[in-house]
Amino acid sequence: MNTAGIIILTALTTAALIWALPRLRAFLPAFKRLDPYHFENRVELLGKSVEGVDIDMFGVSMRGRIITPCDSCDTNVSVEIVDITEGVLEPLRIFCTQPTLRRSEGMEFFFQTHNGIIPGRDAILPQWRMVLELGCDVLRFPKRGQRLLQFVTRISQVGTNRELAVAKTTLNYFVAAAEGYLDFEKRLEKMLASGYILALQTAGDQPNAIQQDLIKNWLNECLNHSAADITIDIRKIIPSETAQEAIDKACEILMQRADTSFRFGLVELCIKIAAADQPVSRPRQDWLKSLSERMELPQERFKAIFQKYLPLEAQDNPDPAFVLGIDPTLPVEESLKRLTEEYRKWNSRVNHPDPKVRQQADKMLSYLTEVRSRLLAETQA
């Protein structure tokens, strides 16, 4: 081989290496690490005060080499997060409450934005560039406590969606604020089973079609907030020997695990169930009252929903103390005051456009005056 041949071969080999090496580095992690400019991402935990409240923020940045198939390649950058606390082979999803930070379908967190045009085929982003600042308050983690989160930053070509560069990094984060959705599902299962027991108790032995629908709709509504389906198997979840034992256990579980909102919703459901089988007998009225007491609900709110869904005509032998909140043990002055308050409330409803509301208000006003006269007569006697 003459000198010229050697020169040409050397030049060709050098050119081939120059062309191939970066490409090899991009595709093979082992090579990639060797590249001092390899594409990488990092996550910093930042603190931020929003309207006086301190919020944890994730700051995701990227830097390094991006190889594109053509010059002036238009690109997007995306960020995904998974929880790999239980192993990379069992990643758990992280949900997001903000619709703009989700995939088009589902609740999973996904962020994508336009990254811009990369001029050369082998471009290097030398400095860390912030891709995303994300408030942790919009994320729903699977569980509370110490979690290992994996952040994946990806550069892709606009149009073809071809992946051009990808980097992964992990961060240990302590989830303190919100309850994890897996924790919630587990808790929800017990709560729903307890609610189911109490709803069935309200409906009696044979729930009618309306009552069955009410229970079904309530379950569906509760489950929509969760990520998984739950089949209610009461006996398995809350084993008990007698109906009373089941009720006691259900109440105990709800007091331990359910918040006021859930308990209020459940009592509201029970009132609606009772209203679906009119007239509502006195024992059933008493059951609803005792249920609201066991659920430790504010009695004024309970009275308001009771009056709304169970008007006088829906009650069999209504109890004034119960309907109007007049306790026989109260001093007369106090009872009269309460009656005046009730009168004010119902008198303002007599102008309502709905004739049903007007009729109910008229009946309540007559009832109120009847109770007041009785009360005054007793005092005078």
Binding site: T100, S261, P298, A304, L336, Y343, H352, S366, L368, S373
Partner: protein, 514 residues
């Protein structure tokens, strides 16, 4: 010369008054020579015209299907009465009563147009608008609406020298109102008004009918009232008995029913026992009003009686017992509302078109001042987190509270609920309840917001209400500066469109009212 007229469009009786040349209101008698006209309408089958007043009452027993009484109770509802294939609305029937008043007044005083019509204080927006429409259909220019107890107090204060806190007890033919106000000379400041829409003379009459029914059942072993015709007849007889019992301790009637006749004697005691629950209802409303005015019975200096039903001795006795002094009977209880409405017409004209008010009238009303209050609470629907239950609850939040002194204004900030919320459904409500199911939604608008923002963006809401009962609502997205404004003229913008009113008025013009 501008004639300033006030009309009391009552449930059982109506009256019309006009300001004289020195600004004093005077009742204009009808062409039968009576100072009040029964609010009854009878559609004459043979002559094809309409009879209003005492003639209608006398005729209605002939054919109850062609008669209407107590139409005020149906104002603002979708109630109709079909006569000769026409569905008569409460507005149309009321317009016939107003037409009769107008027609009779014009015979003596020439053409009249500018009027103020009185309504019960508790009437809501729909009912006020329906009353306005009735006036327009009768060919009147309704320059304002005044609350009945306010009108009565206005006349009382304008014609008497008085200072102190006054409770106006207005128990009319079909409605009951309580108003508490401070009067200092001719300066009046309303503190609060409360009302009961279904409590009045006719309810007392029905209690007497129940007594008739019991007596007839006992003596003849049969039902006394078997059809509408019987009901019309005994309603009139019960009214007679009620009036007698206001003067005497007992009243006697021969009841003619399907099983022969029975002699009924009703004592005042019997009657008072029967109406006890209704009187108790008035007492409860007084308690509510006192509470609202932050007063006790001891703070009230005078009680002014308004409305025919206040003639019942039991009413006066119970008030004397409750307050420790006798109520004032200084004004004619049947006429004072119309007289006060005429004064209100003068004040309204002086405020809006002072140049058209004759000097004599302007001089007569010079010192009269009235500071009114919001008749209802106004709010908006929102979904805050309920502190007691921890859930987002859809709730009516009251911004302008009932009985707030006018003019008034209030501001509150609400926040968007969802991320990327691009519109907000604005609802303006009228009513005292927190539960949206129990309030009237008087306006619904869509407020468009910028896209791509997270939840919790502040929306500033301002409600203001001026002395002319004009309410202005403004919703402002504080970040983008976008605004939505809504304006109402409470009790001034009729429910019906101008075209509709024109068409209906033309039809009604053809009706001959006697």
């Amino acid at each position: 010369m501008t004639k300033l007229v006030g009309i009391d469009l009552g449930t059982t009786f109506s009256a019309i008054a006009m300001l004289n040349s020195i600004g004093r209101p005077e009742i204009i008698p009808n062409c039968e020579g009576e100072r009040i006209t029964a609010s009854a309408v009878y559609f004459d089958e043979e002559e094809g015209g309409v009879r209003v007043g005492i003639e209608a009452i006398n005729s209605r027993q002939l054919n109850t299907n062609r008669a209407v009484r107590f139409v005020k109770r149906y104002m603002g509802t979708d109630w109709t009465k079909t006569i000769d294939n026409h569905n008569w609305t409460p507005q149309e029937i009321s317009s016939l009563i107003l037409k009769k008043l107008k027609q009779d007044a014009e015979k003596e005083h020439g053409a009249i147009s500018d009027v103020v019509i009185s309504v019960p204080a508790h009437f809501d927006e729909t009912r006020r608008k329906a009353t306005m429409d009735a006036g327009t259909l009768a060919g009147l220019n309704v320059i304002g609406i005044v609350n009945e107890p306010v009108a009565a107090a206005l006349f009382y204060a304008a014609s008497h020298d008085i200072t102190g806190r006054v409770l106006v007890y207005d128990l009319g033919g079909g409605t009951f109102d309580v108003t508490i106000l401070d009067i200092k000379g001719k300066d009046m400041k309303i503190l609060c008004s409360q009302g009961d829409h279904a409590l009045g003379g006719i309810d007392f009459d029905h209690k007497i009918i129940e007594l008739f029914e019991q007596e007839y059942q006992k003596q003849c072993n049969a039902k006394l009232i078997q059809n509408d015709q019987d009901m019309a007849k005994f309603e009139d007889e019960a009214e007679d008995v009620k009036k007698t019992l206001s003067r005497r301790n007992n009243a006697k009637k021969i009841l003619y029913g399907s099983n022969g006749s029975a002699r009924a004697e009703i004592t005042r005691d019997q009657f008072e026992k029967a109406i006890e629950s209704l009187i108790a209802r008035t007492e409860m409303l007084i308690d509510v009003a006192l509470d609202e005015a932050k007063s006790t019975t001891k703070d009230i200096n005078k009680i002014l009686l308004v409305g025919g039903s206040t003639r019942m001795p039991m009413v006066q006795e119970r008030l004397t017992k409750k307050f420790g002094f006798a109520p004032e009977a200084a004004v004619n209880v049947d006429e004072c509302v119309a007289l006060g409405a005429a004064v209100h017409a003068g004040l309204t004209m002086l405020r809006e078109k002072p140049e058209s008010v004759p000097q004599g009238i302007a001089g007569g009303l010079r010192d009269v001042r009235l500071k009114d209050v919001c008749n209802h609470s106004y709010g908006t629907i929102c979904a805050p987190v309920d502190e007691q239950t921890g859930r987002h609850v859809v709730r009516n939040t009251i911004l302008l509270k009932k009985n707030t002194s006018l003019p008034c204004s209030t501001t509150q900030t609400f926040y968007t609920m969802a991320d990327n919320q691009t519109e907000l459904q604005i609802m303006i409500t009228q009513g005292e309840d927190e539960d949206p199911d129990f309030v009237n939604k008087i306006a619904t608008e869509i407020f468009e917001l910028p896209a791509g923002r997270s939840a919790g963006r502040p929306i500033r809401v301002e409600y203001s209400y001026d002395a002319n009962q004009r309410m202005h609502c403004e919703f402002e997205d504080q970040e983008s500066g976008r605004k939505l404004e809504v304006e109402f003229c409470i009790g001034k913008d009729g429910e019906l469109s101008q075209n509709h009113v024109h068409q209906q008025a033309e039809t009604l013009q053809k009706m001959k009212v006697q």
